[in-house]
Symmetry: C2
Amino acid sequence: MKAIILFGHGARDARWREPFDRLADLWKAQYPNTPVELAFLEMMAPSLEEAVGSLASKGAAQISVVSVFFGQGGHLCNDFPVLLQACQAKYPQIALSATTAVGEDLAVLQAIVDFAARAL
Amino acid sequence: MKAIILFGHGARDARWREPFDRLADLWKAQYPNTPVELAFLEMMAPSLEEAVGSLASKGAAQISVVSVFFGQGGHLCNDFPVLLQACQAKYPQIALSATTAVGEDLAVLQAIVDFAARAL
């Protein structure tokens, strides 16, 4: 079974999490057969390892980790590969893969441009 | 003249900025008559005040500040209104307005879901 993790930065303020919950809800409505978990780098739970563990317990064999970040700075280039490697070592039976940051995707950027244009 | 500012968090790593530069380039290609500036909350230049000043010097009378953040946590709910008010006080001749975070927009979230689905 395939599954995805939507991986975000995390923040102190619980309101920050709302778009991530909406993302997961959209995913569940559109891809009900592909389990999704949120995971956060810091300040929010669950961690990436906890999310992988949760999906492993549901029988996931392949997990794609989608980095819900705009840019690929130190967190994604340095911290994230270490985290992902640790998860892979802990769950060797799972094929873990990772995408680029969503902010690298032209369609995501175009949606932001469209949003900005509507705000004018 | 109307103008927009794409306002992001900023990061230590210069690579983080790339999607913001691409966003500004997309905007310039599609809305060449509406000047755009990037601005950052911290760790990157220009600041919001510097970006407003730059657009003011180009003759902007109305500026829409688009928060390129996923969530509305402490930065957007607490820090940003203070910054915006300070800019408005410094440039009283400009009508400054602000959008919600782009992560509140359903079309942006859907583009992220579509990206995640392609990654499966």
